[in-house]
Each structure stands twice: as structure tokens, then as C-alpha cells.
């Protein structure tokens, strides 16, 4: 299609087409620069989450997909999900219920950071970064909805992702929290220079994200 240089930094979706049987759900070529947000909108069933699944490596086998997913010049289209480093945030925080808050963060921290003290230090710093200092030993189930969402964000950032894939992450938060959380997520993404793909129903999300918005037709 267009001449796109593949060694560009950020997330490149090149000639991506996702089909369900004969029906084409998604067909796009987009580049998301580090720190930028690409917002994908569209009604339920339009294939928004399917696109995230394709990029993250969890595409349901009932769909056929073609095209390339390239991150910072690396083609990850055929890579195993765990080697793609696609940080995911869903509408539910999905904190692992059998680990403490710090346990969740420790689990996310890459293994090449060795030693309990350095790891703990990074975890505490991450908690401080989302305003949850001192809550490390808590049972995630005892946190408020907003706190859980922030732990989920801290967890995904600690895993050193190469991009963020957000699947309606703010939709279950109440109005006041939603605004704060949006700002926090986008600020962190800019800070870490991560390309972000945001799937949402809510036009206010798209506005706050500020980047390109595309709409999938049902």
C-alpha cells in the first residue's frame, strides 16, 4: 500500500485484514508513534477486541488474519504472545487474586532484575508512581475500584512492555475516576514512550487520547 519504513519506532500495523468467514471486520494500515494513542472506535461486534487479540497474539482461531505487526522495526506477527511484550489493560483490572498487590507487581517484573531488594525497590517505586505507596502487602480484593485499576496499570508498566493495548479500560470506572485514570494512563504512556492502541465506545476517551481515531463499521 503506502511506502512505510519498517524501522520506524513505535507500532506499525501494515495491511492488516481480519476476516470472519467472508466478512471483513478490520482492514487498516496505521502507524502509532511512541507515546501516541491510536483510538479504535465502533459498535460491539465490529472487531475492535479482535484487532487487539491479533496484535497481542490471542486471535480466536475462528478468525483469519493477514498483514504484519511491527514494533520498533521488529516483525512480531508470528511471535508467541509472551515474546511480544504487549501490555494489556482490560475493563476489569484482573489482578491475580491469589497474590498480594506487591506479589502481582513482582510477578510482572522481568526476571533479569535479580535479588529481592532491588526488585522490591522497583515495586515500591511503581506503587509510588500510581499513588499507592505502602499498599504492597494488601490483598487486591480489599482495594477500591480505582486503586485496583492503578495497580493493574503499575503492573503492566513494570513488565517493560513495548506497547500498550487497552480494551475499554475506563468503562467500568465511575465518572470522576475515569478522567483521572485516563490522564494517568496517557501520561505514563508518554513518559515511557509507549505506542498505545485504545479500543473504546466512549468518544470522551478518544478526545482525551488526542491521537488518530478510526472507526470500524459493523
Amino acid at each position: 500500500m503506502t511506502d512505510i519504513v519498517t524501522d520506524k519506532a513505535g507500532l506499525l500495523l501494515q495491511d492488516v485484514v481480519i476476516r470472519h468467514g467472508e466478512r471483513v471486520l478490520v482492514a487498516l494500515t496505521q502507524h502509532v508513534a511512541p507515546g501516541e494513542v491510536l483510538t479504535v472506535m465502533g459498535p460491539s461486534g465490529a472487531g475492535k477486541s479482535t484487532l487487539l487479540g491479533f496484535i497481542g497474539g490471542f486471535l480466536d482461531p475462528v478468525f483469519d488474519a493477514e498483514g504484519r505487526v511491527i514494533v520498533d522495526g521488529d516483525d512480531i506477527t508470528d511471535a508467541a504472545p509472551e515474546t511480544r511484550h504487549a501490555g494489556l489493560l482490560f475493563q476489569d483490572p484482573l489482578l491475580f487474586p491469589h497474590m498480594s498487590v506487591a506479589g502481582n507487581l513482582m510477578f510482572a517484573l522481568p526476571a533479569d532484575i535479580r535479588g529481592h531488594m532491588p526488585r522490591m525497590a522497583l515495586v515500591n517505586e511503581a506503587l509510588r508512581g500510581v499513588d499507592l505507596e505502602g499498599l504492597g502487602e494488601r490483598d487486591p480484593e480489599t482495594l477500591s475500584g480505582g486503586q485496583k485499576a492503578r495497580v493493574a496499570l503499575a503492573r503492566v508498566l513494570l513488565s517493560r512492555p513495548r506497547m500498550l493495548l487497552l480494551d475499554e479500560p475506563f468503562s467500568k470506572l465511575d465518572q470522576a475516576l475515569r478522567g483521572q485514570m485516563r490522564e494517568l494512563v496517557f501520561a505514563k504512556a508518554r513518559e515511557s514512550r509507549l505506542p498505545v492502541l485504545l479500543v473504546t465506545h466512549d468518544p470522551a476517551d478518544a478526545q482525551a487520547a488526542g491521537g488518530t481515531t478510526i472507526t470500524l463499521e459493523p
Binding site: H85, P97, H98, M99, F107, D139, V156, S159
Partner: protein
């Protein structure tokens, strides 16, 4: 290593189909006089002639057929009417909790409990004597071992009702009972009639295989028949085991022919059941087309609740009686309670209990553990490939429960004798695993499939391999259902009688096989001790399954039920 998950379904198929297939072959061939490796047989149909020349064989067959069908009809009817009348009510939930523990009780223990209750010198007689009956000594009545097999049918019904109720319970979420009953109610139908027209067909479709398993077990079981069944003659399956255990090896050919006949009898029971299904569907359609509202169904509610309470109450009361007997000193008829209590029975029995108890625990824990691993592998493979077992796979899971045990375990015994593995721990473990595996798989199926797989996606996004995700996220989060699987598998193994007798060949015994062997001797105090262990072991399994996760995850509210 993850590529090896195909071993899960492959080994499971082998484990379920192999013993049934080879076992049946090992049963069928000797029936015609073919037995590689054994002398004494000559080809032909003469073993069948010998079989049919056995006294009262037709009577034995009829007993097996009628008791099998009668107990299936009665238990299904009770469950259906009770569900119709009470689904969604507090009564239903209470009954479900009451009956739950009975599910894990071995058939033999339930039969012994009922025997202790209804025998001429049992608890009921003691309760009403001599005030109502005038009896000062146990009456000479054939209540246990009655020729019509009524006490046996009663025990089977009491034991199968909890099983079918639990299966119905698992099917309920897929049937919109509440809405259907509101709809039919608005059309003016009574609750029971509305349920039977609107919701039951969908539920029955899902519990059909368990119902067939009930028919197969009831028409071919040995332990309940030995404890409560008629003696002149015995049921076909009980007579088969006598021939199978005969030291005279030529009796084995007779037993093979008999096992084949048992297969025919159970097959006939299935065929009759299929006919009954059609008949009932036709009757239901006729009632529906006639618009019969049947609004006055209060009697159905009362009867179904009474039947439920009777079924559960009889077993619980019998178990209590067993426990009392195990501590009883002198206990004369018609005293309701023993004159004195003593630990002597326990002291006397304990040294003898140690060895079978050890075998029971070893086999139970090992088979439950292996079944758990195989089930997990099956479901991990299913997740990986996105392919679920089809209808054939579902039927295969039930295969060892639908083919009568006695018909293929006997053939398996033949093969094990030939290979020199008979009466070894691995062989017994293998035989138990065949029956533990279906329950393990069925038990894990719904919890596994309802797991929120986004947790795994999150973990993969954090850079974790499928192996790490399995061991650090999925299995710990599923600890509770896994331990329930373990407890159920263990209790199934504890309860197995026939595989233990035939494959253990008297040299390896378990608590259950010993309890049944003691039943004919009539020493109630010692039987009480063994039956107590039969109760205790499954309960201990479930206690562990409840306590361990509660302890490990006591800090995590999201892991509590």
C-alpha cells in the same frame, strides 16, 4: 514440553477405551472356549448350554433386569418431581447440601447402613418393639435379602438419587427454568406440569448419559446385591462373581459366558429404557396438546419431598446405627441402645484394618492424583487447540460407567493373569483409574471452561511463558476445583468394590472389599468399624479439599468462595 499436551487426551482415550475393549475381548473369547494361554477350553457354544442349565438362571436375569430398571425409574422420577416442585427454593438448596455428602459414600456403605436399619433386628424393629409388635426376639422375616429385591432397589434408589440430583443441578444453569416456569405459569399450568413441559426435556438431554450409567450399575452391581439382594437365587452379577472366584478354573469359562449374558441383560435394560423414553415423550406431548394444566400439584410436592427425605434419612440413620454398633458392648433385642459402650471392637479390628486401609489410601491418592494430571492435560490441550471433545468424546468419558463393570473387569483379570500382573499394586491402581478418570474429567470440565482466560492473556502480555502461566496463575487460581476433583476421585476409588475384588484377587484388599466380605458374616460390631472407615475416608478427603485452600489463601478474599 507444551507440545506434549496431546498426551492428555491420547492417554485418556487409551485409559478409558483400552481396558473396556481388551477386557470385553478377554471376556467374550473364553465364553466360546477360546483362551490363548489357558488350557482347558474347547471351542464351541457348550459353555452357554452349561450356563443356561444352571438352576434358576432365568430368575437371576429377571432380577437383574427389573431391579436395574426399577431403581433407575424411581430415582429419576424422584429427582425430576423434586426439581419440578422445588427448583430455586430454599428447600432445594437445603436438600442439595444434605445429599451432597451421600454422593461420596461408597455403595457398599450405603447398603450396609440400610441393612442395619431395616433388618429384623435392625434399628426400626428395635424402635417399634416390643411396644407395637410384641416381639421380644427378632422376628423371622426375610426383609434383607427379600426375594423381590425390594430392599436392594431401595438402597440403590437412596444412593442414585443424590447422584442424579447433582447431575441435574449441573444441567440447570443451561436450562432457563425460572423463566420457563413463569411463562408456563402465566399460561395457567401448574408448577410441576409447566416444568415437565418446558424445562425437563432440555435437562434430561444433558443427564441422559448419567441415567444410563445408573441403569448399567443398578442392573449389574455386585456389592449391593451381596449385602441386600435376594439369595435364592442371587442376581446374575452376584452369581457371576461366585463363578469368577471359584478355584476350579473351568468355572471361568462359565463365568465368561455369564458375563456375556450380563452384557445382554444390561443391553436389554437400555433398550427397554429407550422405549420408555419414547413412551413418556409421547405421553407428555399428548398432555401438552390436550392442554392439561394440572394445577393441583400439591400432592406431587409432598410426595417428592417425602421421598427425598426418606432416601437421605434412611442412609444417615443407618450410618448412625453402624457407628453405634462399632462401639456397642452387650446389645440385646429389642433394646434401642446398647447396654454398654466399649472400645473393644475397635481394638480388635484395628490391627486387621491397617493393611487394607494402607492399600485404600495408596490406591485412592495415587489414582486421584494421576486422574487430576490427565484431566488438566486434556483441558490444557483443549485450550491450546481450541478443539473441544465432540459428542463421541463425551460418550467415551462415560464408557467405563455404561459398560457393566463385571463384564470387562473379568476379561481384564484374564489378561492380567496371563501377564503375571494380577494382584499387584500397579494393576489395581490401573483398574481403579479407569473408573476414577471419568469423574475427575467431568468434575473439572465446568470450572476449567468458566475460567476467565483474560488472566492468561494478561500474564502472556507480561512476558510469561504458557508454562509459567499454567503453574503460577491458572493452577493456583483453580486450586479449589482441583482439590474437589481430588476428593471426588479419591472417594470413587475408596468405594470401588468389584475391580478391587477381581484385580486384587483377595491378596490386595481395601476397606470396601473387606466390609462387603464381612457383611455375610454378620459380626455387626466389626462391620461397624469398617463401615465407619468407609464413611470417614471420603469425608476426610472433602475436609482437606475445603480446608487447604481456605488456609493457603486465608489472606486473599478473592480466593474465598
Amino acid at each position: 514440553m507444551f507440545r506434549l499436551t496431546f498426551l492428555g487426551p491420547a492417554l485418556t482415550v487409551l485409559l478409558l477405551a483400552g481396558p473396556v475393549g481388551f477386557g470385553l475381548a478377554g471376556t467374550v473369547l473364553p465364553a466360546f472356549g477360546i483362551s490363548p494361554g489357558f488350557g482347558g477350553g474347547s471351542f464351541g457354544l457348550h459353555y452357554f448350554r452349561e450356563l443356561f442349565a444352571q438352576p434358576a438362571l432365568f430368575c437371576s436375569m429377571t432380577l437383574s433386569l427389573t431391579s436395574g430398571l426399577a431403581s433407575a425409574v424411581l430415582s429419576l422420577l424422584i429427582v425430576m418431581l423434586f426439581t419440578a416442585a422445588f427448583a430455586g427454593t430454599a428447600t432445594f438448596r437445603r436438600m442439595q447440601h444434605l445429599l451432597g455428602p451421600l454422593l461420596s459414600l461408597p455403595h457398599a456403605a450405603a447398603a450396609l447402613a440400610i441393612a442395619f436399619l431395616i433388618a429384623p433386628s435392625g434399628m426400626i424393629m428395635r424402635l417399634i418393639s416390643p411396644e407395637l409388635t410384641g416381639w421380644e426376639r427378632p422376628p423371622d422375616l426375610l426383609i434383607v435379602h427379600d426375594p423381590l429385591a425390594l430392599s436392594m432397589i431401595g438402597a440403590l434408589v437412596a444412593k442414585e438419587v443424590p447422584f442424579l440430583l447433582l447431575m441435574t443441578l449441573a444441567a440447570l444453569p443451561q436450562a432457563p427454568v425460572e423463566r420457563v416456569c413463569q411463562l408456563t405459569g402465566a399460561l395457567g399450568y401448574g408448577r410441576v406440569a409447566g416444568f415437565i413441559h418446558g424445562a425437563w426435556p432440555g435437562i434430561y438431554r444433558q443427564i441422559r448419559l448419567p441415567v444410563f450409567a445408573v441403569i448399567a450399575f443398578a442392573s449389574s452391581n455386585v456389592e449391593v446385591a451381596l449385602i441386600l439382594g435376594p439369595t435364592q437365587p442371587q442376581t446374575l452379577a452376584a452369581r457371576l462373581v461366585t463363578w469368577m472366584s471359584d478355584p476350579d478354573l473351568s468355572q471361568r469359562y462359565l463365568a465368561s459366558a455369564g458375563a456375556l449374558l450380563q452384557l445382554g441383560v444390561t443391553g436389554l435394560a437400555f433398550a427397554i429404557w429407550l422405549g420408555l423414553e419414547r413412551l413418556c415423550a409421547a405421553l407428555r406431548n399428548k398432555a401438552a396438546c390436550g392442554g392439561l394444566r394440572m394445577r393441583r400439584d400439591r400432592a406431587v410436592q409432598v410426595v417428592s419431598l417425602t421421598a427425598m427425605i426418606l432416601a437421605a434419612g434412611a442412609i444417615f440413620a443407618g450410618l448412625a446405627a453402624l457407628a453405634v454398633w462399632s462401639f456397642a458392648g452387650l446389645w440385646q433385642f429389642p433394646d434401642f441402645l446398647p447396654g454398654s459402650f466399649t472400645l473393644r471392637n475397635w481394638m480388635k479390628a484395628l490391627p486387621r484394618v491397617v493393611e487394607p486401609l494402607g492399600t485404600t489410601l495408596t490406591i485412592g491418592v495415587a489414582s486421584a492424583f494421576i486422574a487430576a494430571i490427565l484431566s488438566v492435560l486434556c483441558f490444557v490441550h483443549e485450550d491450546r487447540t481450541g478443539k473441544r471433545a465432540g459428542r463421541g468424546g463425551q460418550a467415551l468419558i462415560y464408557l467405563p460407567l455404561i459398560v457393566p463393570q463385571v463384564t470387562f473387569i473379568f476379561g481384564l483379570q484374564f489378561l492380567l493373569v496371563a501377564s503375571g500382573w494380577l494382584a499387584t499394586l500397579p494393576a489395581l491402581l490401573f483398574a481403579h483409574l479407569v473408573f476414577v478418570m471419568p469423574y475427575a474429567y467431568l468434575c473439572l470440565k465446568d470450572p476449567w471452561r468458566s475460567f476467565d482466560r483474560r488472566y492468561e492473556q494478561v500474564a502472556a502480555g507480561l512476558g510469561k511463558s504458557p508454562m509459567t502461566t499454567l503453574f503460577r496463575i491458572r493452577l493456583p487460581m483453580m486450586l479449589r476445583p482441583l482439590l474437589v476433583l481430588f476428593a471426588i476421585g479419591f472417594s470413587v476409588s475408596v468405594g470401588l468394590y468389584l475391580p478391587t475384588v477381581l484385580i486384587g484377587a483377595g491378596r490386595l484388599t481395601t476397606i470396601t472389599s473387606e466390609a462387603v466380605a464381612l457383611a455375610s458374616g454378620g459380626n455387626r460390631r466389626i462391620i461397624g468399624v469398617y463401615a465407619f472407615f468407609q464413611m470417614l475416608l471420603p469425608v476426610a478427603g472433602f475436609a482437606i479439599a475445603t480446608l487447604v485452600p481456605a488456609l493457603i489463601f486465608r489472606r486473599f478474599r478473592g480466593m474465598q468462595v
